[in-house]
């Protein structure tokens, strides 16, 4: 059974999202997603400054088995990427909620509220 922290928001495409004090959103992939992917060996992150539409494929994570896209949970502009996971993709397998991928300045601050909460995500992955 995978871990789903209750203080985060989620998408049906298995991203987790945390709202920071400055209003930016930190994005990663859920424990359920990393478990399904298996050992991760490569991560490609969106460049800082890139404008993303909601649902746009913007990150690639590759495991030994396969490549998967990660999608922008809401529209916005990339403000940071996590260099640590680029160099050590296994950090995601070790703790998916520590190993964030990128930060986003949302175009619409309210978009965050429409994301899934932990209970809804748990239901989603059944």
């Amino acid at each position: 059974m995978s871990h789903i922290p209750s203080d985060l928001k989620y998408t049906a495409s298995h991203e987790w999202i945390r709202r920071e004090a400055d209003g930016t959103l930190t994005v990663g992939i859920s424990d359920h997603a990393q478990e399904a992917l298996g050992d991760l060996v490569f991560v490609e992150l969106p460049e800082v400054g890139r404008t993303l539409a909601a649902g746009e494929a913007c990150t690639v994570v590759e495991s030994v088995k396969a490549a998967s896209d990660v999608y922008a949970p809401v529209a916005g502009v990339v403000t940071a990427q996590n260099e640590a996971v680029k160099n050590s993709p296994e950090l995601i397998s070790q703790n998916a909620y520590d190993a964030w991928l990128f930060r986003l300045q949302p175009a619409d601050a309210k978009a965050f509220d429409a994301l899934l909460d932990a209970a809804a995500y748990a239901k989603e992955i059944g």
């Binding site: 298996g38 060996v41 490609e44 690639v60 590759e62 030994v64 088995k65 490549a67």
Partner: protein
């Protein structure tokens, strides 16, 4: 309904992630595919390969029949217990399957074939038998399972839990097997594998395979899934049927020329005329990714100075910490050439190398 091996429940108890592998419910890994891979290169691991199929061929003329049915020449098998890797070809020279054949005695050869191809293989053997050797019997051994114990310490661990087998198997050379009976159970122990490491493949009744798995597990032998099996065989430069070769290609375009034996010109074999009539225009080579930017995967296009090719198997190599692949490319491509692979939206450089990439714990190409 997926088919299950006798070890299914033990896989689940060991927290295996199970997948549908050609209709079989099989473990892909038990937590970390990479750690399982390293366990086999450095120490020992075990794989349930009971989905693979044992066909026992018996009767007078078994050798002559196999000299015709297989592309490799079983005439090489002089000593009982010796084994040979061969392709099973169609009349047009394309590959129906790859297999290992063991010479037990002149009227008994044991053949181990892939799971997904077993039905068509058995039908093909029976068709050939009807035409060429109707007195032979072909017995599919539903009663037997197969456990592969692989790694530098594999044999020691097997002897630790089955001490009675030590005397009969200590002197076995690679690609040789011995039959040993322990406490009324017949074990067929072969010094073969699909990892590029030393070890045994053990064929025995299902209940004996379950007991052996439990004993090996108790002495610290790590269960390994099909994921690690795939990265280990790819590093070792071994083909996977259905991926690196199939019914659309010849062994001469699949890196398997060494397994097609034309030496005895008097020997006819299925597919021989077709292979001789069509010289290969493509070859199977190894690729090492030079750029960062992704992982090599099957079906990616390979651009070379001599035309395009395609990756047949690709992965991240845990031993090299680099992406590696097998690719079918034009015959003019040379070892050492730099080629360009389309990885998603990028064009990444890779070097053509001669497999194996790694085996027996060592990296064998320049990285």
């Amino acid at each position: 309904m997926l088919k299950k091996t006798a070890l299914n429940l033990l896989h689940r108890e060991a927290s295996a992630r199970m997948v549908d592998f050609g209709g079989w419910d099989m473990p892909i890994h038990y937590g970390s595919q990479i750690e399982e891979h390293h366990a086999v290169r450095r120490d020992v691991g075990m794989f349930d390969v009971s989905h693979m199929v044992v066909l026992d061929l018996k009767g007078d003329g078994a050798r002559a029949f196999l000299r015709f049915a297989l592309a490799n020449d079983v005439e090489k098998l002089k000593t009982p217990g010796r084994a040979l890797y061969s392709c099973l070809l169609r009349d047009d020279g394309h590959v129906l399957d790859d297999l290992i054949v063991y010479f037990i005695d002149e009227s008994f050869f044991r053949i181990v074939v892939n799971a997904g191809t077993a039905d068509k293989d058995a039908a093909w053997f029976k068709q050939l038998r009807a035409q060429h050797a109707p007195a032979l019997t072909i017995h599919r051994r539903h009663d037997l399972g197969i456990l592969a114990v692989q790694g530098p310490n594999a044999r020691e661990r097997v002897w630790q839990v089955l001490p009675e087998t030590r005397a009969a198997t200590a002197e076995l050379k690679p690609f040789s097997a011995a039959s040993v009976t322990c406490a009324d159970t017949a074990f067929f122990i072969a010094r073969t594998g699909y990892t590029g490491e030393d070890g045994f493949e053990i064929i025995a009744p299902h209940e004996a395979i379950v007991a052996l798995w439990q004993k090996l597990s108790a002495v610290g032998v790590r269960p390994c899934g099909l994921g690690a099996r795939d990265t280990l065989r790819l590093e070792a430069g071994m083909n996977l049927y259905g991926q690196d070769m199939d019914e659309t290609v010849s062994p001469l375009e699949s890196g398997l020329t060494w397994t097609v034996d034309f030496k005895d010109t008097a020997r006819d074999f299925v597919g021989k005329a077709a292979l001789l009539a069509q010289p290969p225009t493509r070859q199977l080579v190894g690729l090492l990714l030079l750029d960062s930017g992704g992982v090599l995967r099957a079906h990616q296009t390979v651009h070379t100075d001599h035309g395009d090719g395609e990756i047949t198997s690709g992965t991240f190599s845990p031993t090299l910490s680099r992406a590696i692949a097998l690719a079918r490319v034009p015959s003019a491509v040379q070892e050492g050439d730099t080629v360009v692979v389309a990885v998603r939206d990028k064009q990444l450089k890779a070097r053509v190398v001669k497999p194996p990439f790694a085996k027996q714990g060592k990296i064998l190409i320049a990285v």
